[in-house]
Symmetry: C2
Subunit: 248 residues, 2 copies
């Protein structure tokens, strides 16, 4: 029973997130429909994780099983022809039968894009935030996120998890053309975590919260201690990484 990993990108604007659900337009539903149509049998897919309504992905990964081997190049072509313009299949790779997009992911990375001058062509894919920001201070605060820590302060209050420990390996701000980007990489993320991190780091950038107070926010393990969540349309899932041994 061959299993495949599909890598895809999507613009989340017109979707009610990744996860399939009744009466909602979701990326997973679109992809399952495309696969089932192209392969002429009911296919179920499993993603590496959810993305919320309006959140984008430059690299999402999903797996599915087939009774027989398929030509990956041919499948990519057919899927891209069938799928709407805002979802694109980037690659397809056969993996070991027990490989799992969610459980085998080593690390995930996100980017949060914002722009500080009004820019009509960035709507829906970057957050317009015109306040002056001290990026150096935001980068100093970002270093305090590194390591294995309890991030309950940045987790949605209504959540099923009871373990809030995440191991953040990279967290920094950088400039890309006219945009300011927050990059963060970790073994796992809590629901709403990146958007709450960015919202709180912006308070540091505006000198409303000192770096020392930012550290206290982490330690508080209380969502109320952190800043508000920034809107979803600046957020991109940019990477999901797997150990090489899962690939055939």
């Amino acid at each position: 029973m061959p299993r495949y990993f599909l890598q895809l990108s999507y613009k989340g604007t017109n979707y009610h997130g990744w996860q399939i659900q009744p009466n909602a337009h979701t990326v997973q539903a679109e992809l399952q429909l495309a696969l089932s149509t192209v392969l002429r049998k009911e296919i179920e897919i499993m993603g590496s994780g959810r993305t919320d309504t309006g959140v984008h992905a430059k690299k999402q990964v999903a797996h599915f099983d087939l009774a027989e081997e398929v030509n990956c190049e041919d499948l990519i072509y057919k899927l891209n022809s069938f799928l709407p313009e805002d979802i694109a299949i980037e690659s397809c790779r056969p993996v070991k039968a027990e490989a799992h997009t969610r459980f085998d992911a080593n690390e995930r990375a996100y980017h949060y894009y914002l722009h500080q001058s009004k820019s009509p062509f960035l709507t829906k894919r970057s957050y317009y935030y015109s306040q002056n920001l001290d990026v150096e201070l935001m980068n100093l605060a970002a270093t305090k996120l590194i390591g294995s820590q309890d991030f309950e302060s940045f987790s949605k209050v209504k959540t099923e998890v009871n373990n809030f420990i995440c191991n953040i390996s990279e967290a920094n701000w950088f400039l890309e053309n006219d945009q300011l980007v927050f990059h963060v990489r970790a073994n796992r993320f809590l629901r709403g975590m990146v958007r709450a991190l960015v919202g709180t780091l912006l308070l540091v950038g505006e000198n409303k919260l000192s770096v020392e107070e930012f550290v206290e926010v982490i330690k508080a393990k209380n969502r109320k201690a952190a800043g508000r969540a920034v809107p979803p349309h600046g957020l991109y899932l940019t990477e999901v990484s797997y150990p090489e041994h899962i690939y055939l």
Copy 2:
């Protein structure tokens, strides 16, 4: 009676074009509403020319008159705060009382963007066109557009004008990141002209029309001789230029 030139950019996706009209959401109407609200009096504006539904502008220019001088920097700030995210005021300059955005424009330039690999983040702002293209041949054909010629073959059939002579000073294709861009500059453009030019040049790029046949299309002075118009969402008004003497 001071007159001002406003330079603005907009994403045309959600607008029924530039030109004000009853029961339609237009850029001109949004801008007049913003100016009238900010300046607390009825203001009428005159644009350098129309853009069609879905067409974007990186540089559109409009003029308006005021009874008294206004602080331009302050006006820009207020207009940008009032206007939606997909319209941005770039500059404001006082001009001579008789200066006119439409009649004084020396030249206009457009860019048409297309991308050849599926790209979820370019929807609505670039035309996805996956056919193989011979860009060298398209550039050779583009050189045949230069000069003062009758471009009726590339004009919408239902149009009020009876003079189809345009003087094209620049026409070429270039690469910008993953996009292929057609640049064209002329003293004037006919309705639907750039989109018809691009559609016909694509036929050349696909070897469906030779460069010699392309020249014949121009000479035919008949819209039916040219290719179909490409969709509006790849088109950008990128420049409107004026003689320096109109500015105060």
